[in-house]
């Protein structure tokens, strides 16, 4: 037998095998460097169908930081502890993702979130403490006293489940109790599949819930110099900067996240947006938070990255005066209401008499708006969307109260 054909055959075979090795080696490590074959397969197999069925889902993932770092579909969709499994084309998956999935990599952030009002207090503000576990209530009350141990909002009963589910629940589910024992969903701010820091930093992301007459933060921001400059210079900002490396060079115009959460110029990053807040502005009568001094110092530390101390002190002093005067106005209205109830003139559960709505709107719309406007540089909201309607409702409330008293006295005679 001639050696020549055998030699040629071996050379051809070797060349083929070598080229196969080289092609495989050229594949990105983020695809192949996974913990199991299942995870490697998920790096591309899921997209085979879902590109056809839900293109945007795959595309959003592909442009995400998760994709760049080799976090693939299965990393997030694998069932976390106590989550229901679904067998899906050779993969065991969880289809309902919660904070329980994100925490497997981002545990410290989840813990910060748990301590915030975005967690259990947000849910309890609408649905009360009923669906929360005792340990969840206990934990949250430690950090946000009075935020979670409370009844469901009376409007949920009056307006009915459809309004609560499609209305209140859409925003307040940021702190929903999940079946797996965790609370909340990170995608409320970071959006699904993009898992984006840049999107979470956009004012419109916070504004998906923080808008409207009851908490007009987005509108106030839009009116403020911060908002105007953001829209003018957004294209020059680096919204994608890594949270721990964010500087004023990246975000020389702030968004909500810059002041309330970001670790700009070496500050501590936080996922508890109330960590730098010194007052309970959302309450009818605003009181200082237990950690007022520390929180205010932390916020001023952020302000000083762009502003001088005298300006910051002036803004705080002016805003605190608005808080005090709003408190006085709400207190006066509250006393009128309390007196009517005490004298048996106003009876029945909340939201059953027109005067209940006048009072509720006075503090819930006008009072809050004036206070938020004062702290956020929204002059029009302090005056025309805040103090002015508050004055109008105070007059109306007093007028109606006197009218009720006259009617009540007439009935008694």
């Amino acid at each position: 037998m001639s050696f020549r054909p055998v030699f040629i055959a071996v050379v051809i075979a070797f060349a083929l095998i070598l080229s196969a090795f080289l092609i495989n080696r050229a594949r990105p490590a983020v695809e192949t460097g996974q913990r199991s074959a299942e995870f490697v397969r998920a790096a591309g197999k899921c997209a085979e169908c879902h590109t056809q069925q839900q293109y945007s889902v795959v595309h959003e993932y592909e442009i995400s930081a998760h994709a760049r770092k080799g976090v693939n579909c299965l990393d997030c969709h694998q069932p976390a502890d106590r989550q229901q499994r679904k067998e899906h084309h050779g993969f065991s998956l969880s289809t309902k993702l919660t904070a329980g999935n994100c925490r497997s990599c981002h545990e410290p952030i989840y813990q910060e979130f748990l301590r915030s009002r975005h967690a259990a207090p947000s849910w309890a503000a609408v649905f009360g403490e009923k669906s929360l576990r005792p340990e969840q209530i206990e934990f949250s009350e430690r950090y946000q006293p009075g935020g979670t141990r409370r009844p469901a909002h009376p409007l949920t009963t009056i307006e009915g489940p459809s309004a609560t589910t499609s209305g209140c629940g859409q925003c307040h589910s940021v702190g929903r109790p999940n079946e797996d024992g965790t609370i909340g969903t990170c995608t409320a701010c970071h959006t699904r599949h993009t898992s984006s820091v840049a999107i979470a930093r956009l004012p419109t992301t916070c504004g998906q819930c923080h808008l409207g007459p009851d908490h007009s933060q987005l509108e106030i921001y839009e009116e403020s110099k911060h908002g105007i400059m953001f829209h003018a210079q957004q294209h020059m900002l680096n919204l994608n900067a890594a949270p721990k490396e964010l500087t004023t060079r990246d975000m020389f115009v702030p968004t909500c996240a810059t002041c309330h959460m970001s670790g700009i110029n070496g500050q501590k990053v936080t996922h508890d947006p109330s960590e730098r807040l010194s007052y309970y502005l959302a309450d009818p009568i605003t009181k200082a938070r237990p950690n007022r001094e520390r929180a205010q110092a932390a916020m001023k530390q952020v302000c000083v990255q762009c502003h001088t101390t005298p300006l910051i002190e002036r803004v705080y002093a002016d805003a605190e005066r608005v808080v005090a005067s709003t408190n006085d106005k709400v207190q006066a209205a509250s006393e009128v209401m309390a007196a009517l109830r005490k004298d048996g003139i106003l009876t029945g559960p909340p939201f059953t008499h027109p005067l209940d709505f006048v009072y509720f709107d006075l503090w819930h719309y006008d009072g809050r708006t004036s206070k938020h406007g004062a702290f956020m540089g929204g002059a029009d909201f302090v005056q025309w969307h805040g103090n002015y309607p508050m004055l109008a409702r105070s007059v109306e409330l007093k007028f109606q109260a006197e009218e009720l008293r006259r009617q009540h006295a007439g009935q008694r005679r």
Binding site: M1, V6, E31, A37, E48, G90
Partner: protein, 277 residues
């Protein structure tokens, strides 16, 4: 074609016909499984299934007529052959269209529907045509059959490379079919390039035997992987797991190549040479 009453053992044309028939029959189950993973989402996915059924039944009907109604056997075979080529080539385009045409990357090629798989129809179609156009008693016939077996092993090489790349070759054993089919390609390609002697054909037979062993082991490994696979039912595991039939392509193609080899041995019983061009 051997004369009436010729020994079936030397009737290589019949062997190829039976080979094609059995392959079309096997493709019925294979396509049913493969396209079920996709729930036959596009109507065109039914075409290879119905074609396989039709081709199998047609061959069952015409192969026995090979001697009595040679023209029927020949013409229907041609028709089936050309249709097979068409189904295969269109199938390749449609498989690539599943993802690769959108993003022309190695990743999309890896995870797209196996683009080389439909070429099985083209290969079977070419076998039917070659079996009719070329005299099965001639050395040329044996070389054509060998060439088509070589094409099959090229397909196996690409198939096992892309399929196992989906796992990132996580288990080193996944390289075995790539190495094995690479060897088969090397050894089957040489006779088309240089003159070879009978000793070389014996080496080729050993290499083909190795392919059969690799395929049978692969079948076992795939079956074991399917049993470990997450899935509510066995069918679901089969559909989403390692393709159970794929490793059997190795012994299948080894058989085809051995038919070609046996054609040469029976017809010449001596040192074989590539026909003069």
């Amino acid at each position: 074609m051997p004369a009436n009453g010729a020994d079936w053992r030397s009737d290589h044309q019949l062997w190829v016909e039976v080979f094609v028939l059995l392959n079309f029959a096997g493709l019925i189950g294979d396509i049913a499984l493969a396209h079920s993973t996709n729930h036959f989402r596009r109507t065109s996915e039914y075409v290879p299934l119905y074609f396989s059924i039709g081709a199998t039944l047609t061959l069952v009907a015409i192969v026995p007529l090979r001697r009595r109604y040679a023209a029927v056997w020949r013409d229907v075979g041609y028709l089936l052959g050309w249709a097979g080529i068409g189904v295969g080539l269109v199938g390749v385009m449609l498989h690539l269209d599943s993802r690769f045409f959108f993003e022309r990357t190695i990743e999309s090629l890896t995870y797209a529907a196996p683009f080389a798989a439909p070429l099985a129809y083209t290969g079977l179609g070419l076998l039917l045509i070659a079996n009719r156009m070329v005299d099965s008693q001639s050395p040329e016939w044996a070389y054509w059959i060998l060439l088509l077996a070589l094409g099959g092993f090229v397909g196996n090489f690409v198939f096992s490379l892309t399929d196992h790349a989906q796992n990132g070759f996580f288990h080193p054993i996944e390289w075995v079919p790539v190495v094995s089919s690479g060897l088969a390609i090397g050894f089957l390609l040489v006779p088309f390039v240089v003159r070879v002697g009978s000793g070389y054909w014996r080496v080729v037979a050993i290499v083909l035997g190795l392919q059969a062993v690799v395929g049978l082991i692969g079948f076992g490994v795939h079956a074991a992987a399917i049993l470990r696979q997450p899935g509510a039912t066995l069918l679901e595991r089969v559909l989403s797991g390692a393709p159970p039939m794929a490793p059997l392509l190795f012994p299948n193609l080894a058989v085809l190549a051995l038919i070609a080899l046996s054609g040469m041995v029976f017809d010449y019983k001596s040192d074989l040479r590539i026909p003069k061009r």
